[in-house]
Structure formats: C-alpha cells, structure tokens
Symmetry: D4
Subunit: 249 residues, 8 copies
C-alpha cells in the first residue's frame, strides 16, 4: 500500500473531506501495489480469506519473483502454481524454505499450519494419471488450513474401490473428485455423500476426450445434485473453494 495514498485518505478523513465508512473502503480497496506489469493485491486476504496466489503460467521468471517478493513479506503461506523447477531455483534465493512439489508443479511456502476447518477435505482421483492435478488441490487445501485425506486410483470401472472408501468419504465436510476420460466418478461419489462434491475434470485421455472436454461435460451433466464443477485441470480452484466451504465461520 502506497504511503502517500494512505496519508491523503487519512488527512481527508481528518479534514472532514471523507467520512469514516468511505475512508475505510478506500483503504481496503486501494490496497494493492502497482509494480509495472502487475497490481499486487494485498487486500484480497481480507476480502477473500487468503492472500493472492501467483498463477505461474504465462509469466516470466522475473515477473513471478517480483510478485513473490511483495507477497512473502505479508502472508505466512504463499502458493505459486503451474511453474517450473527453474523458477523454484530462483524463488529459493528469495526464501530458502519454499517447498517444491514435483507432480503438481507447485512452489509452496507453508509457515502457518493451523487448522481452520470444520472437518476434513477428501481428495479422490479416478486414475493414477489424475494425481498431479489432485495434488494441486490437496496442497492448496493444506495451505489454507485444512486437514486432507487422499484417495487415489478409485475409478468407476472397479466400483468396489470407491465403495471401499465410503466411510471416509461420508465423514468429510467436502469432497474433491478429479477424473479425466469420461469423468464419471463425481456422480458416483455425489450419490454416496451428503456434502458438496467439487468435480475436477482433468485433461487425461486421448481421442474423443478432447483434452478434458468429455470429462467436463460429463461432470456438468451429473445426475447427482450435489456436484459443482471447476475448469479442466484447475486443481487450485477446487482446493480454494473446498477450503471456503470447510472454513469455520
């Protein structure tokens, strides 16, 4: 937050130019830093319950590091998604204890490990190949203060595999289900539990999977009423929403 901007608002408040409410709003809203190529949004934590995450794809290493430097001084936990080992190398020069998660291609700073959730978040996959996307979701949930249980490779073609996990699923406060190909697992899980299910389509498949489109359409048409959907391969988004659902008020 720019000091001069802040001073101006406060002096206006003092002089009666601004009312209290308005001054508060302005302070809250204007709380981003402009660093040329980005407006780093420090207000998001108070508005949304979590600091801004750096979406790595399509940004240069320089840009990522620049934004990271601004964020790491303010927020205990920071995430960089869809990034590379090369960027990780540079990030470690800034903050040594940053973690690298190979399957998820994610960098994570995790200084606050407190539990903020009402219950547990379950993260399931239909197949082994869906694990990287599901890991992005699971790591996000952990960084946002949730306990997570992972259930890998439990697709519908061997239905006993997911049925064997019924107990754990039914004890969760929210379930994330990652699946590629025909994307049928969320419907089955949806029918087993009485909590929200976040369907996470992955681009796993070939031919008429059209890079995840088949799974996405399947999930949007789920006959289970408790299913909502996020974008293909959007593990971060799934984890983010699950965390908000699970959050103690």
């Amino acid at each position: 937050m720019n000091t001069e901007d802040l001073k101006k608002i406060l002096s206006d408040l003092k002089s009666g130019e601004l009312g209290e409410t308005e001054a508060a709003t302005r302070i809250q809203n204007l709380s981003y830093e402009e660093i040329g190529y980005a407006r780093v949004d420090h207000g998001r934590a108070s508005r949304q319950g979590f600091p801004e995450v750096i979406f790595g794809q399509g940004k240069t290493a320089e840009q990522i590091c620049g934004i990271f430097e601004k964020l790491v001084h303010r927020s205990p936990n920071v995430l960089i998604t869809r990034t590379t080992p090369e960027v990780y190398g540079q990030i470690r020069n800034i903050y040594t204890d940053a973690e690298w998660h190979e399957p998820a291609k994610m960098i994570r700073v995790m200084r606050d490990t407190g539990d903020l959730g009402m219950g547990e978040v379950s993260v399931c996959t239909a197949g082994t190949s869906d694990i990287p996307v599901a890991e992005e979701a699971a790591l996000t949930c952990e960084a946002m203060g949730n306990r997570v249980q992972r259930i890998w490779d439990a697709g519908v073609a061997g239905i006993h595999r997911i049925l064997g996990e019924r107990q754990r699923l039914q004890n969760s406060r929210v379930v994330i289900v990652a699946a590629g190909m025909e994307g049928a697992l969320p419907s089955v899980v949806g029918g087993l539990v009485a909590v929200p299910v976040i369907a996470l389509p992955t681009s796993i498949g070939y031919g008429a999977s059209f890079n995840g489109l088949a799974a996405l359409l399947g999930m949007l048409n789920s006959c289970a009423s408790n299913v909502t959907v996020v974008n293909i391969d959007n593990g971060f988004g799934a984890g983010f929403v699950a965390s908000l659902i699970n959050r103690k008020s």
Copy 2:
C-alpha cells in the same frame, strides 16, 4: 427379385457364360427390388441374419407402406422404427396383427418367436426418461430371437440400484446400457461384468448435455475396456448388434 434377371443369370450359367460361384453371387447380390424411391434389399437377411428394417423418419407414409408390403410377404418379423400412430393406422390395413409400441414409436410384426440366442440380453437405463430409447433396443432384440431382461432407472447417483442387479447382469451374454446426461452408467456396468457392454447414449438432458453429446463423449472415453458405443438414441442399432453377439453360430 426380378424374374427376368434371374432367368438371364441361370441361362448364362447353363450356357457356360457364367460359372457356378459367380452365378450364386449374382443371385445373392442382385436380390433387391427397385420400387422407384427405394431398393428393397431382400438379400440382407442371408447376408446379415435379419430382414431389412424400415427407418421411418424422413420417409412419407406412402413410402413406408410401399416398402412394408414388399417385406411382410417374405420375412416373419418386420420392424418400422421412428414412426407415428398415423402410419400405424395405415400399416394395420396391410397387416392386421402389427403391434404398436408407444414409448418406442415402433411398429412390429412378430410372427417368429423362436429363441436364437446363446444367453440373455440385459437392457438397462440410468433414468426413467431413457426408457423409450431402451425399449427400441429391447423390442429389436426380441424380434431377432433373444430373451431380454429390462432393468430401468438404475443410474449411478444411487449406485446401490445397479449393484442390486449385479447377479442378473453377470448372467447375461451381453448388456445394453442406455443413459443420457453424463452417461456414466456403462462404465460402472462394464466394470461389473465379463461380457460386451453396448453403450447407448440418449438425448435426455439439457444445457451442456448438447442433446446427448455429453453422454456420447463420456461413453466413448469409458475407462471400462468392454464398452462400445452406438449413435445417440440409436436403440435399434444397439439391439441389432447385441443380437448378433448373442447369436448361436
């Protein structure tokens, strides 16, 4: 089959102009009647194991009746698919015992009820709304000499419904599974049985079901290896192939 054509072939055979094999082929292949707007294919029964079926959609009542008259004198069982009660009225003037099947919109002549199958064909639906398409499949199977068991409304969002039918499914020689929306049921059934599963997508759904496209794509991407797929709402085709699979050699 035109008599003159036949005579010509036979006289050529006699005169040595044609060999035996060739004469046989010609007789078999040329066995259709040209009636202006259609070539009625009487050879199909010997080539494919069943007489030609009349696809009603896009034909005038007059054309349907014209083709039906040719077929009904040669084949014990005849099917007219995708037709209307109006056409049925006219067909009954030609053959009184023709049956009308309202949900499937099908006219059926069923004079031969012999059992030609190795085992039973199961026909399942995910929901109540899928029944009309599934009935088209079931009626076709019966007309082609199969015993059929119907399992309606057993979609994956209440997985115990299909699991409760496991025994019957596993005793079948082939299973047809009709589903709209996300089309997930064939994958689940595929994982339960050791026989071929014919996935039959229906146009039931709305929004991102895109008139059955979501179900179709889901089924094509099934993670169960024993699943093949027919066109959206193609109950007849599903029943036809199931009958060929089940046929005693």
Copy 3:
C-alpha cells in the same frame, strides 16, 4: 421399502448369516421402491440430506404423479422441477396445498419451514430475463431450510448496481449468481466476497451465446478463485449445493 426384503435381512441378521453393520447398510441401501418405470429412492434423504426431487422434463404426467404419491407421504417438502400447469392441476388432486411457481415452472410442497442454515444464501441475476432460473435456485434453497435474499438485474454493464449490494453479499454464507450472455457477473461477485460463489449460467442470449455456452465457458474460466459452476439453467442444482454448503453440521 419392500417388507419381505426387510424381513429377510433381519432374519439373516438374527441367524448370524449377516453382521450388524452389513445389515444396516443393506437396509439403508435397498430402501427404494420399484414402481415399474422408476426406483423411488427413499434412502436419499438419509444419504444426502434431502428427499428425491422429481425432474419433470421428459416424464409423463402419469409418471410424475406416480412418483409424487410415493414421496409426499414421507417427506415434508417435495419439489417438482421443469413441469407444467397441466401437471400442477393433477398434483393438486393428490395434495391440495402444493404451490405453483410460474416463472420457475416448479411445483413445491413446503410443510417444513425450519431454518437449517449457518447464514443466508444470496441469489443474484445479471438481468431480468435470468430471473426464472434464479427463482428455481431460490425456491430450492428455501425448501431445504435456508433464508434467501434475492438481488435481481445487477449485471456488470452497470457495475454500480452490484457494488451497491456489496454489504448484503459480504454477509452471506454462500452466493448464487445467475447470468446469461457473457456470464461475467460471477467473477465480479467472486472478487467481492470471501465465501463460495456458485455460478449459474443461463441460456439467455442469442447468436454467439449458443444457448448458454458462452456464459458457461466464461464462468468455468473465471479469474476469481472462489467460483464453481453448474450446468446451464440448472437452478435446482445451484440451490441444492448452496444448501449443503450453508447447512449447520
């Protein structure tokens, strides 16, 4: 639930043929009634927190009434979605106090009005034409025990309209946002609140809206991390998930 099935399970339990846990599961799972064209799922309430809803589209009036009769004796609140005034006429013969909601094309029986939620659910629309779909969501939320506040016609092209509702939005436990055309409103709302946002695309629009596809894609690609998506025009599903999110554990 079929009495003979139940007795069989209980006698097996008694004889030691079945264990307690297993008997419980069987009783819970087998609790649907088969009525020919449908398996009425009385177990869903205990599994999912709400009785089965009748999806009216694609079912005959006879089928709807048949299922309704089974449900209305067991569940205080019942919903029939995507139906017609004609069906409503027949339903009133079964249960006089059923409500008809014209814009949402929904029949509702609402005998239990208790509040089961942690907070309020807000339901917004971008335009006037999105109201019918949003009403389906709002009516569902109410039937599932939630307090609902409606915010109509607050699309992004007049951004002050949604900003003027910021306070109410930020006080909600979950927000549903219905929008057609470019579907931009959920992203804006997502950025204003710290709770889950359920994006509800509608088929409102023309030309390149492709019956809601543009809105759907927009919402799936939302740059706000707290947004999940349901099918086009799926007001019921949006309301159902919102209710689960808001439910007191």
Copy 4:
C-alpha cells in the same frame, strides 16, 4: 490380496459375523493391492475375463514398472499400451521375454497362447497409416486367446480391394475395421458380413479430419446396423471387446 484382510474376513465368517455370500463378495471385491499411486486390480481377471492392462500414457516409467511387477507374477499374459522403448528397456530387466511391438508402441508378455475363441477375428485397415492402431487391436486379440487375420490397406476408394476379401470377412466371428479420414470402411464391411463390426476410428488425416473426429462421426452414423464404435485410436479397446464377443462361453 492382503493376507490380513483375508484372514479377518475368514475369521468373521467363522464367528458368524459374516455370511458365506457376503464373505465371498468381499474376498472377490477387495482383491486389489494398494501401492500408493495405484490400486492394482487382481480381481478384474475373474470379473472381466482378463487381467488388468497397463495404460502407459501419463504414467511415469517407475509407476509402470511398479504395477507391472505386481501383475506379471499372477497373469500369464500382460499388456502395456502406449509406451516407449525406454520403458521397454526397464521392463526387460524385470521380465526378459517381454516383446516390443514398434508400430503399436506396445509391450507384451505372452506366455499363454491357447485358443479361447469360437472363430477368427479379422482386423482391417483402410490405409497403410492406420496399421499402428490396428496392430494394437490385433496384438490384444492374440493375447486374449484369439486367432487373428490381418487385412491391410483396403479402403473404399478402391472398393475391389475390400470386395476381394469378402470370403475371409464372412468367415470371421467378429471384424474390427480401423480407418481415419472419412471413416467409411466400416459401413461397407458392415454390409458384407452377418457378424458384429467394431469400428475403430484413427486420427489419420489432416484439416477437417480434426484428429479423427470426422472418422468417429462417420462411424457413429453408419447406415450398417451391425456397427459399434470405440474411441479414436483405441486399438486396445477394440481388441478387448472383439475378444469378449468371440469367447466360447
């Protein structure tokens, strides 16, 4: 299968905690090994008539080898599809006699060569470029106990090429037809034979073939009633279903 799990079930059976039927089901269903990233499904052989196949694409070499090790001790024949020469190098360290099939990019262990089929399976291609996909189907059929005859490069633009094979086709119990571009060959073959035809679209083509979409759509709309379809380039699936159709009961 985990010994402790098994013991537990058996002791429960003995103590009367579990009935016989239930114990049987549990044993059958729980027969998978969890190895972290995968649940190796040893029960599939009894349920589906063939051991689990390793779908190589999207798995690390380490994961493939880990699963392979579990499978190779139990099943005489094992397949790894969509894999690489590099993985083959590592597999040979585990099992020396594994075969590498270059065009199909498949690793095969083939210790049981018994004939389980009622008749022969024919595998055809429209063009030379379709051979790799067709080979995947043919190799799968052989591994599942079928005699296979290969008919390459017999596309419809030189119709005499497929007509010249009529005899062989008509003697088969089931026919697989691989084609890219317009995908017309299955319809022609379908009209020549009285057995099921499995249409196998390939991604061969360019421009408006849209990576096999044109062929896929063509096959789904086949005017021959005995045609079903699998996913684009899914040679394995085509071979698997053909094997089930051909299997002696």
Copy 5:
C-alpha cells in the same frame, strides 16, 4: 438496366470521355435493376452462363414475386428454390406454366430444353430420404441444359446396389452423390469413375449426425481424389457446378 445510366455511358463514349473497353465493362457490370430490397442481376447470365436464381428462404412472397417478374421476361428458364406451395400459387398468377416440384420445394419455368452438355450428369442418393435434395440438383441440371440420370437408394451398406450401376456411372461426364448420415457413398463412387464427383451432404440422420455435419466432414476427408463438396442440402449448388463442368465450350 437503367436507360439514363446507359445513355450517360454511351454519350461519354461518343464524346471521348470513355474508351470502348471501359464503356463495355460499365455496361456489362451496371446491368442490374435496383428494386428497393434487391438488385436484380441481369448481367449474371453473360458472366456466369445462367440467369440469377431466386433463393426463396428468408424472402417474403412479395419479394419473390417482385424479383420473378423482372427475371421471367428476360430468361427462358427460371428457378425459385426453397419455397412453398403458397408462393407457387402467386407465381402462377404471373406465369401460368410454372412447374411445382413437391419433394424439392422448387418452382421451375422451363421454356428452353436444349442440350448444352458434353455428356450426361448422374445424380445418386444413398437413401430414400436424400431424394428431395438430390431432386433439387437434378432439376437444376435439366434447367441448365443437361441430360440427367437418377440413381436412388444405393448406399454403401448394400454395396452391390451401387456396383450394379457402375456402367451408367462410368459413362457420365460428372456425378453428383447425395448422402446423409456417414456420407460414405461419394468416396465409393469416386473410386469407380474417372470424372469429377460432387459430394452433396444432406441433413438426413439424427444424434451425432449433427444435422449433416458428420456427412459433410466425411466428404471433405474423402480418400478419393476426385471428390469436391458443397454445403449441406445445397442441391442447387451441386447442380449448378455440375452443369458448368458438363458444358460444351
């Protein structure tokens, strides 16, 4: 052609303001009549070898009659495509001998029946339902001075039907092939003849035919090199191009 415009050009020519070539071009190009809602293009006959045809769809009866009146005084043969019996009623008030072609929904004035072609045009259909579109093509060819032979219902699933017509096809100067569903017939015909084949996709089909898209894509990907394609259901266009190909220079 407006007289004043013409006079102006001629006087400019006379005065030396315009050269001969330019004057000719201007006269040829400006030869359309503006009648408010349309520019009736009398120059097209000299530029393209045939007078303008009235595309009926999307025009009011009044507009069609207005344009027809202008054309019928200049051109011996006139076509109105995609129109209705109602419009035909009004057209007959203008010109009594106009013909109505029910299947093709076409009005035709046919006063010049001279033969302008090098050879014959064959028009084939795959099925009975494709006849209306094929008739539009055939009627157009006749109106443009060609001899036409019609070959109906000769689809690839009964390949002997088209093979039986090989002789007639090979004697044609150009072949039009109309097909819906998978649209495979043009490839087969293309392989049988040494002349151009115009593939004419029709919207006949259902489900994954997507209103002719499957047929269109199939034809665009034809493995026969002598195939070109026109728009779905564009019988007129197919007939027009065939006529130009067949025209004696």
Copy 6:
C-alpha cells in the same frame, strides 16, 4: 432516483460526512430505479450518451411496459428491440406516437431528430434477407442522432454492385456491413474505405452456416485491418457503436 437516498447523500455532504467528489459519484451511480424485476438505469445516458434500451426478447409484455413507462418520461428517444406487434399494441396505450418497424421488429419513440454526428453512417447488406438486421442498426443510428444511408443487396458474388457504391462508402464516417452465409462483404468494404467498418454477421444461411457461425468466424478473421465485429444478428449493437464513433465530441 430514490428521493430518500438522494437526501441522505446530500445531508452527508452537508455534515462533512461526504466530500464533494464522492457525493457526485454516488448520485450519478445510484441513479437507477428498482422496480422489482429490473433496475432501470437512468444514469446510463450521462455515462454512455444514450438512455437505456429495452431488449425485448425474454421479457414479458408486462415487464417491457413497466420499464418503458419509466424511460419514456425522461428520454426523448426510446427503443424496444426484438419485440412483437402484440407488445406494440400495449405500448401505444402508453405513448401514442410510438413507431412500429416490422422488418426490424422494433418499437421506436423518436422525438429528438437533431444531428449529432461528424458525418454519415452507411449501412450495407450482402443480400435481401439481411435487411431486417440491418434495419435494426439503421433505426438505432437515426435514434441516436445520425444521418444514415442504406445500401441493400450488394454481396460479393456480384462485386460490381458494391464497387458501384464506392463513392458513397468513402464519404461515410463509419460503415456497418451486414452479411450472412460466408460473411465476406466486410472484408471487401474494409479494403475500399479509410474508416472503421463494423461487421454485423446475420444468421441467414443454412447447413454449414450454423446459424451465423460461418459469417461470424469469417468476419473475425477479416484480412482488412479496419474491421471489428459484433454478435450475430446484433443490429442494435452495431448501430450503437457506429453512433459513438460518429459522435461529435
């Protein structure tokens, strides 16, 4: 604008609770009337240079009239697009001099006919069937204070028709070009003039026009650099933007 809201702002200003700038913004922004199903946006005129237009499609006659009543007292010119003669009947009861434009299906109140433009707006169509959409654009331009010249039926297949209008086109300040089918006209016009061209795709066509998609894609890919595009059939939008471009500052 609600009086109490306004008073509150003014009293806050007076008391020093609000500054001048903020008060101004609030007054400007809050200037909509909430009438239940809609927020009538009176501020739009000052923000956008024109009063809100009523998009008729998807609104009930009652809703349209309700909004119209609010607007007609404040704004000299009012438009209702995509509406019906029935609504027109009701609107005339409110305001007698409202105009009905049949081809455009538009109601217009036109009390201010002053010229606000820098130059003229040209509106062209490729064919006769594109006129209704183009009229919507032209009527909008006039209502927003522009002189309009209409150029109908000048498609590229008779290129001299548009070349003949080159002079008029080059004298315009902005050109709107409506075209369906292949949508080629905007590229040609774009190459002829040195001003912005607004390409207006229409849904005119059939088959592979996919309801205007072909025209839309063509226009988006125009090789003329001065072309921008609006939605299919969005005549109003094209007219609106053209008016803003032409407006004297």
Copy 7:
C-alpha cells in the same frame, strides 16, 4: 498384377467357368500389388485417369520408397505429397531425375509433359502465405497435363488486385482459389467467371481461424453458385479435380 491370378482367370474364361465380361472386370479390379503394408493400385490409372499418388504423411520413408518403386516403373508421372527432404534423398537413389519442390513439400517425377486440357487452369491465392498449398495444386495440375497460370497475393482487402486479373480468370476453363483467414476470395472470383471454381481453404491464420475452419465454413457457404470445396490444405485434391474438369474427353 500377380501372374498366377491372371492365369487362373484366363483359364477359367477358356474353360467357360467365367464369361468374358466377368473376366474383364476381374482383371481390371484385381490389378493391385500387395506388398505387405499396402496394396499398390495399378488399376487406378485406367479407372481414374491418373496413377496412384503417394500421400507421404504418416508413412515411413521405407514404405514410401517401397511404393514408389512399384509405381515409377509403370507411370510416366508420379507424385509424393507431404513429404520431406530426407525422403527426397532416398527417392533420388531410386530415380535420379525426381524433382523436389520446397514450398509444396512435394516430390515429382515428370516425364510426360503433354497437354491434355481443354483450356488453362488458373490457381490464385489470397495471400503470400497461401502459396505452398496453392503450389501443391499447381504442380499436380501440371503433372496431369494442364497448362497453369499462377496468380499470387490477390486477396479481397485490396479488391483491385483480383479485378486486375479478371481477363485471365475469365479465359480459364477452371479456377482454383486458395485462401486462409476468412476465405472470401472464392466468392469474389466465383462472381467474376462462368466456369467452376474450386475453393481451397488453407490453415493460414490464427485465433478464431481455428486452423482453417473459418475459411472452410466461409467457402461452403459461398453465395456464388459455381463454387465447390475441398479439405483444408488439400492442394493435391484441388489440382486433381481441376484436371478432370479440364480434361478433353
């Protein structure tokens, strides 16, 4: 052609086993060589007027060379399309005078340069980037005995460029028009000439060109009646059909 096959047919003819006509057909049809991965079709020349062309894409260098060796001994002119300089290196070892055409990525053997056409073929492009595809068309035409005139970079955004070539276009017997992006040029050319126009969409463009889809759709919807279309980037096909159209009978 296999000698034994031929002898068998001839001896059957002699013995009266076969008639003359049949023997002729068999000889003509069976005239392909099977070389394992391909059936080299020597009969195509007599059936289609040109020897088989090798479509290089998707074939190994070994396969291409194997087929080439069979063809080069029989046919004066041979084409290999979509190939590489590496393959060219190997082809030159077989036939030294083979030509390499870099932009078209084509190998050509051109020993017969006789003129077989009624007139000239014009090949146009809209832009410079369309030249490689157009060259494939032009080289094919030449190899099939046509005189070709090339008109490059004459797109519609500078309409005078194509108008300047009007004379040459109008003197051609057939015109090929290659264009990417919006693909508008064929419609303009179609309106200028009285001969068939073959529209050749290219994949040139970006964004909403969707790799040539926009151009393809535009051309299929051409408002010029004399336009037919081939697949995206199918220069060979365009050249082939143009040659058949131009061929002296």
Copy 8:
C-alpha cells in the same frame, strides 16, 4: 507503381481514350508492386490512412525483408508483426533504426511521431499475461499517430483496480481492453465509459478457455452496447481500428 502502366493510363487520358475520373481510379488502384510472392500495396495509405503492415507469421525471412525494402522507402512508419529476433537482425541490416519490441514480437520503424488523434487511446489488460497482446495494440496506435495510456492488470476479480482508473478511462476517445480467460473486463469498462470499446480477446488461459474461445464468446455477448470485438490475439487490428476512430477528420 509501374511506370509503363502509369504512362499508358496517362496517354490514354490524353488521347481521350480514358476520362479523368477513370484515369484517377486506375492510377490509385493499380498502385501495387508485384514482386513474385506478393503484391505490395502502396495505394493502401491513401485508401486506408496507413501503409501496409507486414504480417510476419507464415512468411519466410526473405519474403519479409523483400516486402520491407519496398515499404521503408515510401512510408515514414512501418510495422512488422508476429516476427522473431532473427528477422529483426536482418531488418537492421536494411534499416538501422528499426526498433525491436520483445513482448509484442514486433519490429517498428517510427520516423513520424506527430499526433493525429482527437483524444487519447487507453489500452487495458485484465492480467499480466495479456500484456504482450496489448502492447501490440499500443505500439500500433502510437505508430499511427495516437497518444496512448496503458493500464495493466486490472481484471474484474479485483474490481477496485479498474474502478480506480475510471477517470482516465472516461477521458479517452476510445478504449482497447485485452483479456483472456472469461474475458469479462470489456463489459465492465463498457459500462463505465461513453466511447467505443474494442474488446481484444487473448489466448491466455487453459482447459475450457480453448485458446481464447471462451474470452471471444464472452466479448461477443457483452451486455454493454458499446463493445465490438476483434480476433483472438489480434492486437494489431485493435490498435488499427482504434486509430481510425480517434483520427481527426
């Protein structure tokens, strides 16, 4: 412009063969240079207000340099879009002061920096990753004589970021808004300003963004009436149209 062509026209004028008007048109239109692979269009400046720009993609370095040499001698400002540092190296050999703009991948010659605009052009982006495309637009605007203000990273999920720029936006004569993902920013900006907004979809995103399709569709369906759209990633086009809108007449 070719001298001989010019002389011919002038002599024709003199001799009275040509009139004044026609001569003028011919001179203006024929003013391109043919250099084999391209027709360099020197007339475009007078027709369109700016010299031809070289679209680098799909052209060889040789072709780009060849065209550049022709243009750089006539026009003070020249642009080469979608090119590479390698081409830049060669261009500097021709003209040393050419600029290289890395993010936009653009080469620019900028010798005339005069201001030709009525006001300012604002260029906004929703995110950091949209900057390269937006820079292409901004650099184009500058080269065409406009003052530009850049507003980066102001997407709708943090709505205060764009609201904070309201003043600057409202002072612009035209606004370009670049956004990927859901593409919602143009609608919000459109509602804030009274000038034309050019929506510039970018291919930024993943999964269901389908390379910019989601953003494109969103923008085409904008509920703000002052929005028009250009192709995905077409920064140049957006800048070009904005310059024409802003140009002083």
